[in-house]
């Protein structure tokens, strides 16, 4: 029978939650790297025992851990993320030039074909690649070196490259998202990039429809339809059906179109999930009710999924990398909160139950469906 492994990064360590294919009984292991911020963990789809973990700390900087046995043991691998050439400057919060400075890895994205190849999205925004299992890292500097780079500015969480999507049908194509610059796409494996933000509108910007500067919180793709993308922006839920060339709003009847996560059902490319958050000033659910919203039409028409979720006095947030789906049927959906709960639904969102309630604030949730 298949198994599920949920990789949870938190403010105070990493946790591994495991279950069989029934997804009823869970084992909680951890903390790994106790007391330290684990921004993200992700496993290789080629070799599920290969997991990369990003540990970042104001005291000790960036550390990268790698497991080759499904998280039972870990080794430290390379942590030198050196910008290619002269780092240059971007805009600071006050609009003045500010030097590019490496701070942390926000997201690892293992290659779809090689367990030793992995991409890292970092703050200050840049994309790195390792082809030796994380021992060494090289910047794909065409990303940061885009002509608009000097105009990028940080969002409240820092100027982070937080999402990396690999096109399963096209080795050369990938998408990245940066707060607050927007979506960029390469069609030549990272050598050159161009903004993919047409149709986005951000009222906080001097030019609300500018080519760059949008605070994109997360983007998602179903592997069977890599030209269709879904986006949770700072405000607005968006979709693109032309590989990011243009976007249209699909917020529809959501109670708030502010939020961080967005994900796609494993078997239904038009079924998507978001967790609305009240506003950019109040990072908790509208009406203090924790509700996942599901659209089965790729947006615009949304239904609230509430069974098993707190429907009062709930003031947690769900951060941008803290939702994931498994590949079983029915599809399992998982998300973690800043209150330390990790919720799971084994029936595509109809009913929810906490796997664990009292972890440190959850930063990221990734799911592995094991053979």
């Amino acid at each position: 029978m298949s198994g599920i492994r949920v990789l949870v990064g938190t403010r105070k360590g990493a946790f591994l939650l495991t279950s069989d294919g029934k997804r009823k009984e869970w084992k909680v292991e951890g903390p790994h790297f106790g007391g330290l911020e684990i921004y993200h963990l992700k496993g290789s789809t080629v070799d599920p025992n290969r997991i990369y973990a990003s540990q970042a700390s104001d005291w000790f900087g960036q550390v990268v851990h790698r497991s080759d046995d499904g998280g039972k043991s870990w080794q430290t691998v390379g942590n030198e993320f050196k910008y290619d050439g002269e780092p240059g400057k971007h805009l600071w919060y006050d609009g003045t030039p500010h030097p590019w400075e490496f701070k942390r890895v926000w997201h690892f994205e293992p290659s779809l074909t090689d367990p030793d190849t992995v991409y890292a999205g970092v703050e200050d925004a840049a994309l790195f690649r390792s082809a030796d299992g994380g021992a060494t890292w090289q910047e794909l500097s065409g990303m940061r070196g885009h002509s608009s780079g000097a105009q990028w500015a940080p969002g409240a969480g820092g100027m982070c490259l937080h999402t990396i999507l690999l096109d399963p049908n096209n080795n050369g194509r990938m998408f990245v998202a940066i707060s607050a610059a927007g979506v960029f796409r390469t069609d030549d494996a990272g050598k050159s990039w161009r903004p993919n933000n047409r149709g986005l509108k951000s009222d906080f910007m001097p030019d609300p429809t500018a080519e760059v500067g949008h605070c994109v919180h997360h983007i998602a793709m179903h592997p069977s339809r890599p030209t269709t993308l879904f986006m949770q922006k700072h405000w607005d839920v968006m979709r693109s059906d032309d590989g990011g060339e243009s976007w249209r709003e699909v917020s529809g009847n959501l109670p708030s179109d502010f939020g961080f996560v967005i994900d796609v059902h494993a078997h239904e490319p038009e079924t998507i999930y978001v967790v609305p958050i009240k506003s950019d000033s109040e990072h908790y659910p509208p009406e203090a009710k924790l509700r996942v919203y599901r659209s089965r039409s790729g947006g615009n028409e949304w239904e609230a999924l509430t069974k098993g979720l707190p429907q009062g006095d709930c003031y947690v947030n769900v951060l941008r990398d803290a939702m994931s789906v498994d590949a079983l049927d029915p599809c399992g959906v998982y998300f973690g909160t800043t209150g330390g709960q990790v919720y799971a639904s084994a029936d595509a969102g109809e009913r929810w139950a906490p796997i664990v309630r009292d972890l440190p604030a959850v930063l990221s949730v990734e799911v592995q469906t094991l053979p």
Binding site: F33, G35, L36, W59, F60, G61, V63, T76, E80, K82
Partner: protein
């Protein structure tokens, strides 16, 4: 042998006890001591000094013999008590955060 006391998380990362001892050839300075420490425990590279600048990370300080040596030159000789191993060189993390 030079004695070095590491903060808790770096001890865990290196897989060592509170205090480590290392031989150092030549002058004993912050640079030679940290070079020897990182050579013996490569997982500590980048965690005490920035990879590129080799500057001390801002939330760490160096102490020995009751003195704050954080702002001493990297190539200045450390006190004889440290060089002889009578006193440890302490790498201390700021007491801060939640």
């Amino acid at each position: 042998m030079i004695r070095i006391i590491l903060p808790y998380h770096l001890r865990n990362l290196a897989g060592v006890e509170k205090e480590v001892s290392l031989p150092i050839e030549g002058p004993v300075t912050q640079r030679s001591l940290l070079d020897a420490l990182e050579a013996r425990y490569p997982m500590l590279r980048g965690t005490i000094r920035d990879h590129t600048t080799q500057e001390r990370r801002p939330l760490l300080r160096y102490f020995a013999c009751g003195e704050d040596l954080s702002f001493e030159a990297a190539d200045a000789p450390l006190p004889d008590e440290v060089a002889s191993g009578r006193e440890p060189f302490r790498i201390v993390g700021a007491v801060a955060g939640g």
